[in-house]
Amino acid sequence: MHQFLQQIFSGLAAGAIYASVALALVMIYRATDLVNFAQGEMAMFSTYIAWTLVNAGLPFWAAFLITLAVSFVGGMAIERVLIRPVENAPVLAAVIVTIALLLIFNSTAGWLYSYTVQDFPSPFPDRPVFGALITTRDLGVIAVTLVMLAMLFIFFRFTATGLAMRAAAQNPESARLCGIPVGRMLAIGWGLAAAIGATAGIMVAPVLFLDPNMMGGVLIYAFAGALLGGITSPVGAVVGGLIVGVTENLVGTYLIASQLKLTVAFALIILVLVFKPNGLFGTAIIRRV
């Protein structure tokens, strides 16, 4: 029983990371109707920026905030410069652009920082608490994720920009007629997604160690989490990410050798989706002829 609870808590910590990246994916999906396959690599690149800053002698949290700011601006720039040309192209063309971005970020990071695995400092000490149920590091990761979620909730619920962004995502034409600069809102959406990803990357790097392929697995689990929760639902993304984190951990501990862990975890997720094709919290897509 104790081990079971331990696995659940460490699953929640991993799930918090998946939930953050899933949330970033959902934000971009709602705004531009496309899955950003480069989300993980963008986060990885941000983490390298943080790593550089920390190595240059900055205190951890200062490096963290600067990285978030840089990522936000970078995400906006990517949307304005690279995604905008395919804004009205078929979805597949836009998807190919994000896959291209994935390759570019991965390769550039390998070129700039080499493929050597690097240590990344954690701001939280790593020692067990609450009768060894959870470590302080996992607790810290979960806390940072919760704070981030709360801030996003407040932003979207109570600020004018947040409202404008929701309008731009839901109905671009009407939003434009109301005087909302839809293009700028999309760019902010990408910026926020990049900053959320950066947070996830920095939080996960002490556990996974930093290398250019660090976020590959995370992106896939986050994608699964986003879809499990329903790709149109931010709440769903968070819940889905947490479920995926816990499932992955439990499957790995109790069901099967880690060789087939990924396969079994995916099979379970797909089984759920067979019965709930729009995810747990997603809304059905209504189509007209």
């Binding site: 999906y29 109707d33 496309l34 899955v35 690279l82 040309p85 395919v86 192209a89 078929p90 979805v91 597949l92 063309a93 998807v95 190919i96 652009v97 896959i99 291209a100 971005l101 994935l102 390759l103 570019i104 991965n106 390769s107 550039t108 390998g110 070129w111 839901q170 109905n171 671009p172 896939i220 994608f223 699964a224 879809l227 790709i231 060789q259 087939l260 990924l262 396969t263 995916f266 099979a267 997720i269 797909i270 989706l273 067979v274 094709p277 729009n278 995810g279 897509i285 189509r287 007209r288 002829v289």
Partner: protein, 343 residues
């Protein structure tokens, strides 16, 4: 909110913008005949290594053609076709290695097995669309190397399987590489002919209708579920045969050759060549085979960054793919050359 289309919807007659490479126009036939003659003569002018490369181009073209049927004509995005490529490859490898089946006889077997697998996979996939289907197929692509390693009594696990080298017929007196080139060329031509027959007839129109206007298609009496399943099976059949051919030509299979990257390459090749076209598959095959090497020549520090930039360049200049963008233009030029047809 109106959903964006996965693929640009067809306009005009399905034979036109839908991408008629094998039309009825006589000028087109002449140019195709010239291309075939060129393709037959080509291997005798090239080194063995270049012949091998071109063989791989044709094999990738068959795989991409399979994906085009599913993604291009039916609008179902698959990130898992590397898995079916692997299924075909291992079918050929196991049959040749364990049972001593001749290499040519493994192709129909791979076709059958991959068709059945595709239909079985396509049935649950009916419930999914857009990013959900992408996830399900992505899961398959990720599971493929793991499963291949897990069932090692059949697949040889990590070590993979070495295949016996195919022997060209004695009366032809050509070496193995050139013979395999012709095997791949035959397979490609047959694949194109079959795809053209399927896509430019009733089935093709039904697939396109299902892609662009699913509800209207149902209202018109098109059994969309059946057509989607057929599209899946046909698509994986093509890709599986390509996988078997690749195994025969390379003479070796191992789990590492069938990673997620292969599946992504197929989708990239498909989008860059021209997703709802048949000729685009060949451009896609060229891209998959040559661009990684070219990128490596340009910068061996960050080759995939160059590859990514090439992808961006293609998508910005030709969002409908090379053939999808260029072909209508060539088609018009050919129309002007050939006998006039009133449309």
């Amino acid at each position: 909110m109106e959903k964006r289309h996965v693929i640009a919807p067809a306009t005009g007659s399905p034979g036109g913008a839908g991408g008629a490479v094998f039309g009825s126009n006589s000028a087109q036939w002449i140019s195709i005949l010239a291309l075939v003659v060129f393709a037959v003569a080509l291997p005798f002018a090239l080194s063995k290594y270049h012949v091998f490369e071109l063989t791989m181009v044709m094999i990738y073209a068959i795989a991409v053609l399979g994906l085009n049927i599913l993604t291009g004509y039916n609008g179902q995005i698959s990130l898992g076709h590397g898995g079916f490529f692997a299924a075909g490859a291992y079918t050929a490898a196991i049959l040749m290695h364990r049972y001593g089946v001749p290499y040519w006889a493994t192709l129909p077997a791979a076709a059958l097995i991959c068709f059945v697998l595709g239909v079985l996979f396509g049935l649950p996939a009916l419930r999914f669309e857009g990013p959900y289907l992408a996830l399900v197929t992505l899961a398959m692509a990720l599971a493929t190397p793991q499963l291949l390693k897990y069932f090692d009594t059949w697949t040889g696990g990590q070590q993979g399987i070495n295949l016996p080298k195919p022997v060209p017929p004695h009366w032809l007196e050509i070496d193995r590489d050139r013979w395999l080139y012709f095997v791949a060329l035959m397979a490609l031509l047959i694949a194109i002919r079959i795809a053209a027959n399927i896509l430019h007839g009733r089935t093709g129109r039904a697939l396109i209708a299902t892609r662009d206007q699913p509800i209207a298609a149902v209202a018109m009496g098109i059994p969309t579920a059946r057509y989607k399943t057929i599209a899946f099976g046909t698509s994986t059949l093509f890709t599986g045969v390509a996988g078997a051919l690749a195994a025969i030509v390379i003479g070796y299979v191992s789990p590492e050759g069938y990673s997620l990257f292969l599946s992504v390459s197929f989708l990239v090749g498909s989008a860059i060549g021209g997703i709802a076209t048949i000729g685009g598959a060949i451009v896609g095959g060229l891209f998959i085979e040559f661009v990684p090497n070219l990128a490596n020549d340009i910068s061996d520090a960050a080759p995939w960054a160059i590859y990514g930039l090439a992808m961006l360049l293609f998508m910005y200049t030709m969002p409908r793919g090379a053939v999808g963008t260029v072909w209508p233009w060539i088609g018009k030029a050919l129309m002007r050359m050939g006998p006039h047809k009133i449309e």
